[in-house]
Amino acid sequence: MTRVAASGRSFLGHSYNLVGIVALLVILVWMLIAIFAPTIIPHSIGDIVDDDYFGPMRQGLWLGSDYLGRDMLSRVLMGARYTVGISLAAVAIACFSGVMLGMTAAVIGGWVDTCLSRFLDAMNSIPSKLFGLVVVAAVGSSIPALILTLAVIYIPGAYRFARALAVNINTMDFMTVARVRGESTAYLIGSEILPNIIRPVLADFGLRFVFIVLLLSGLSFLGLGLQPPLADWGALVRENIGGLPFAAPAVIIPSLAIASLTISVNLLIDNLPQKIRDRDA
């Protein structure tokens, strides 16, 4: 019930807490790696540098080798590009459109709500494998197509969740006040409803991010997007899963990478910097 104490430091009119800062740092580190990966990887990601497969960690091959004997360190670093980049883009699109649509439906109500809800329900009941295959067949495979597919798969869920929250807010008096002021739907959505549902929506965002990170690897098996030897972290886990009985770093490291990123994103969301409102008072 009590708000998390605004402990920790303040900066630029916001207060931060330690967990949030650490989470943010982890994310930033991964983002930097994503940006600079091509210049810092020790080996080309396609090169087979180890005679053994699932090789252990050792000098030169700091994270061991994968199932073909490729350098795991390079692959994980490069994988960051795709996992961070594609997943963030996709989850942003999915949540943004889903939440916007959900709030719009709740605010406008009536047949707009009914049609949108039914349409998105229908979309959600089409199996994603079928959907992925159709996308490949129709527009071919590319990273933008991959991002859009991931987004489209997760829009209905974000929509439903946001709508459920927004419908409750929509019955409040302050919504009526804004309505009789003649406010546009866009304002009602963005300024009256959103601030009240932003926390659960962000929590949802964090989760969807995790799902997308994992689904990403699945779609590459349908031929969407990433082409070998490129691989996102999920795909790295998948292609090296045979190393699990040997506790090969090739399967453990990408799993840890996924966990570090997804947990950080969610912890950051739980511990977002808070705006200090009475700074000049």
């Binding site: 073909l68 098996f221 082409q227 070998p228 045979g242 699990l244 009985p245």
Partner: protein, 488 residues
């Protein structure tokens, strides 16, 4: 690697549970339609063929007692007597005629319709004699009929869900895409066989799940395991591995009638760029034999051992690419999980190309629909060819000018002539010589790069005895159920 020594006396009894790697709702008990290993295993346990291939690749008689022909065109087949179907009916010449003739019926959708098409006449001479007439002479007919699709079913059968054959087991349960259970045929015509009381076959498509099921004791046999799991099984007590190198291969096809394959130097360059040793070592984890672009594998008696593997030579490759003017251009290469190991091979070739400035753009496409949409169609793509018993089948399916699956669109009049000549000849030595020559031609001229023959490794509990390798494929050419027994 472990070999399963044949113990002295087989023991009868026991339930054998084995897992293959693929299954689908399209699973069938109709031998003509059989398409997956799962189907072959089931059909082998329920039906018999006229002939079969033994472990050395030599054709042996099964339901047939003899195959005779003077001109390799008209064949007389004597059938074994005293063979009965599971429902009690005797095996007759009519059953054989029906079984073979079905393949010509388009509505059956036979997988070997093309091969069967050369059989133009079937005649039940008497109750146990069948006469088969071919369009053109073919000395390989007894071997061809050892293909799994040519299993003998009862005359008039259209509903195959009963699995009514002459085989070693009787069908108990069959759930497509899930499992089948068969039980010992007490009236089996091969005396003493089978040893097993019942045999359950399921499919576990996930590689590690299959191995784990074996290790946990849920199954006795895991077919076709991932080479990387060998380490795991090798280290465990009570489990063994059985390796078969049959003629299965994954090949890189460069269509000679399309850009860039129409530039001879590009094809030549690619042949030098493929690091066969690396592929065997890394992609196949040593479970394969280096190939040199000849489809006839060492497991086949007609294999030409004089065709030597082309050495990996990036410099020569670069020279050819430069000559073809394609160096530096981005060339798409289609790979898919549908063609075993093709993605790994593609990546290896891609990396080699990158070193010399040859950009190969590997495109992974869905395995779903791969054979329909990309195989044979894309300018550069991978194929995967299952073992065939004879060079004639391989060449006429894959390399003759009119071959239905001419993967690289190789066309040579000389080759076509040689093919017909060898087919009609009953002289083994002469055929061997012709086939040798043809293998050299394919290796040199066609656009199909066959870097390796892929070995198949089955893992099994040490209690399972009697397993031998067979050139037709793993699981003793899919027919293991009939020969295995379980140690108490």
């Amino acid at each position: 690697r472990a070999t399963n020594a044949v113990a002295a006396t087989p023991i009868s009894g026991g339930t054998f549970k084995a897992a293959g790697w693929s299954s689908s709702t399209a699973d069938t008990l109709d031998p003509a339609k059989a398409s997956l290993s799962t189907d072959y295993v089931r059909c082998c346990s329920l039906y018999n063929r006229l002939t079969f291939l033994d472990k050395d690749g030599v054709t042996q008689m099964e339901l047939a007692e003899s195959f005779d022909s003077k001109d390799a065109k008209t064949w007389t087949v004597k059938l074994r007597k005293g063979v009965t179907f599971h429902d009690g009916k005797d095996l007759t010449a009519d059953d054989v005629v029906y079984s073979l003739k079905r393949h010509l019926d388009k509505s059956v959708g036979s997988k070997v319709a093309k091969i069967a098409a050369q059989m133009t006449g079937f005649k039940a001479v008497d109750k146990s004699t069948v006469e088969i007439t071919l369009a053109d002479p073919n000395a390989d007919l007894p071997t061809i009929l050892a293909l799994h699709h040519f299993m003998i079913v009862q005359d008039g059968t259209t509903d195959f869900s009963k699995g009514n054959g002459t085989g070693a087991f009787v069908l108990q349960t069959f759930e497509p895409g899930v499992r089948s259970v068969v039980t010992k045929n007490k009236n089996y015509w091969k005396s003493g066989k089978p040893y097993l009381d019942s045999f359950e076959f399921i499919a576990i498509s996930d590689d590690s799940a299959r191995v784990n099921a074996l290790l946990s004791g849920d199954i006795n046999f895991a077919a076709s395991i991932n080479p990387r799991a060998m380490k795991l099984i090798g280290g465990q007590q009570g489990f063994e591995l059985s390796k078969t190198t049959s003629g299965n291969y994954t090949d890189l096809n460069i269509r000679l009638d399309m850009n860039p394959g129409n530039k001879a130097d590009f094809v030549a360059g690619m042949k030098y760029l493929v690091n066969r040793e690396q592929i065997v070592k890394s992609a196949l984890r040593g479970l394969g034999e280096i190939g040199n672009d000849q489809p006839v594998s060492p497991a086949n008696i007609f294999h030409n051992p004089d065709v030597k593997p082309k050495a990996f030579d990036p410099d020569k490759a670069k020279f050819h690419f430069q000559k073809s003017g394609l160096l530096g251009q981005s060339i798409p290469v289609i790979a898919s999980d549908a063609a075993t190991s093709s993605i790994d091979m593609a990546v290896i070739i891609q990396a080699a190309g990158a070193d010399i400035g040859m950009k190969l753009d590997v495109q992974r496409v869905p395995s779903d629909g791969y054979w329909d949409n990309y195989w044979l169609k894309a300018p550069i793509h991978f194929g995967n060819i299952n073992p065939r018993p004879t060079p004639d089948i391989l060449f006429s399916l894959l390399y003759a000018s009119n071959a239905p699956w001419n993967e690289s669109q190789y066309k040579s009049e000389k080759f076509d002539k040689l093919l017909i000549e060898a087919r009609g000849s009953l002289d083994q030595a002469k055929r061997k010589e012709i086939y040798n020559q043809m293998q050299v031609m394919v290796s040199e001229e066609a656009g199909t790069i066959i870097p390796a023959y892929i070995s198949n490794v089955d893992a099994l509990s040490s209690k399972v005895k009697g397993l031998e390798a067979n050139p037709l494929g793993g699981m003793m050419g899919y027919a293991m159920a009939e020969y295995l027994w379980l140690e108490a």
